[in-house]
Amino acid sequence: MAEVRAEMVANVWKVLVAQGDTVEDGDTLVILESMKMEIPVISEGDGVITELKVAEGDVIQEGDLIAVID
């Protein structure tokens, strides 16, 4: 099981996956936006998204949980 967490304070611009989706290493899960920069959040392994904790438009803090991949 892998937890994907935010590396910085950001707005959630795009959510590209849904709970239950199968993802591979390198897939983009969500795109964050902070200080006029798009920051893709990438899956670091293969698996299924068991939890998706963010929605488009959310403001998230550094360390917040974005998704759990099992």
């Binding site: 304070v9 707005n11 902070s34 200080m35 920069m37």
Partner: protein, 420 residues
């Protein structure tokens, strides 16, 4: 100058120094720029209720928006900037490029019409020759720009530019230009005076960039000869004259350092972030000139050219990957001393939010020589204490020890090489 300054701000910026420092400050709305800094009607309403006579658009948000300039003028206020027509002509990069070519300003080989799809892009690139730069005609700040070395790279760069273009309203066309490897980004500061003449106030070298965005700027450029400098300044004056330019503007060029030649890149129809370095070597207060020119004063600034100045943009970002690092500022201590100028937007206790640009402060140094400026910069960077948000001061210190930067023989690829 005896003027009253009225600031506008969003909820996110309510605690920042500029709100206190202004004679009056008016809240525009929430943090989201569309509901505050980009809402022209709200800015005009703020001008009306405060009794303002003129609007200075700064260097972000609506500063290069011809529609806003027109609305300011239609409201009976003075617009501190060039005419809406000049902003429009230069705002479209394809139009600007064609206009400059007609005015005898060198331009890079590239598309004279918007490129509609990938197929057209591939055909155009074959004619121009790789590598090519793909960009959006209406974009700025490096957004949507990409370099392609072959057809596969072009497909990727085109897709990225198209995505950026659609995100900014779908009106932005895509263009291709020959990409110069080992290019320096050198720009010329111009001032269109009230009597219709245009003067050039020297150049700025802005080749230290990450993600096509400037980090450090210096003047004079250590990478151009006096002969090239004179040609560039003369071309910039012609560029300004071609659009009847009024006020402060910047003609951005790419310089092929090996060939000592240049091409027009784009014109910024506003004050630039990096204007302080020009002020330090010319002794001209550019904002004062903007105000005098907007007031119709027919004065000619007395321009000196002495010494060397460097600006470091102190960004709230990590110094390794340059990723945003907003946060609360627990400690903020600025350097001071001979030849040191700090223009900052934040103070201790403020929070740098994720909503806007990461620029926290501009650290500027002046020296009689470049070596003296570098020496003062090293001391000033070491003395600048910021605790809280991630910041790029460690990068600035690293740059000041890098042989390419110290030697002056660097190009826009320098930062990427430092992080390779």
């Amino acid at each position: 100058m005896g003027l009253r300054a009225i600031a506008v701000y969003s909820e996110a910026d309510a605690d920042l120094p500029f709100v206190r420092e202004a004679d009056e400050a008016i809240l525009l709305g929430p943090a989201n720029p569309a509901q505050s800094y980009l809402d022209a009607a709200k800015v005009l309403e703020a001008a009306r209720v405060s009794g303002a006579q003129a609007v200075h658009p700064g260097y972000g948000f609506l500063s290069e928006n011809a529609g806003f300039a027109r609305a300011v003028i239609d409201a009976g206020l003075t617009w501190i900037g060039p005419s809406p027509e000049a902003i429009e002509q230069m705002g479209d990069k394809i139009n600007a490029r064609n206009l400059m070519e007609a005015a005898g300003v060198p331009v890079a080989a590239g598309t004279r019409e918007p490129v509609a799809d990938l197929e057209e892009a591939v055909a155009a690139a074959a004619g121009i020759g790789y590598p090519v730069m793909v960009k959006t005609a209406g974009g700025g700040g490096g957004i949507g720009m990409g370099v392609a070395h072959d057809e596969a790279g072009l497909a990727k760069a085109f897709e990225q530019a198209a995505r950026a273009a659609s995100r900014f309203g779908g009106t932005s066309a895509i263009l291709l230009e020959r990409y110069i490897e080992r290019a320096r980004h050198v720009e010329v500061q111009i001032l269109g005076l009230a009597d219709g003449t245009v003067v050039a106030l020297g150049e700025r070298d802005c080749s230290v960039q990450r993600r096509h965005q400037k980090v450090v700027e210096e003047t004079p450029s250590p990478g151009i000869t006096q002969e090239l400098r004179e040609r560039m300044l003369a071309a910039a004056v012609r560029a300004g004259e071609a659009v009847g330019y009024l006020g402060a503007g910047t003609v951005e060029c790419l310089v092929d350092a090996d060939k000592q030649d240049f091409v027009f890149l784009e014109m910024n129809t506003r004050l630039q972030v990096e204007h302080p370095v020009t002020e330090l070597v010319t002794g001209v207060d550019l904002v004062e000139q903007q105000l005098l020119i907007a007031a119709g004063e027919k004065t000619v600034p007395s321009v000196a050219a002495r010494g060397h100045a460097i600006e470091f943009r102190v960004y709230a970002e990590d110094p390794k990957r340059f990723f945003p690092g907003p946060g609360k500022i627990d400690v903020w201590a600025e350097p001071s001393g001979e030849g040191v100028r700090v223009d900052s937007g934040y103070a201790e206790g403020n929070t740098v939010t994720p909503f806007y640009d990461p620029l926290m402060a501009k650290l500027c140094v002046f020296g009689q020589t470049r070596a003296e400026a570098l020496e003062r910069a090293r001391a000033a960077v070491a003395d600048f204490k910021v605790v809280g948000p991630k910041n790029n001061l460690p990068f600035c210190a690293e740059l000041l020890e890098h042989p390419e930067f110290v030697g002056g023989d660097y190009d826009t690829g320098l930062v990427a090489r430092m992080r390779a």
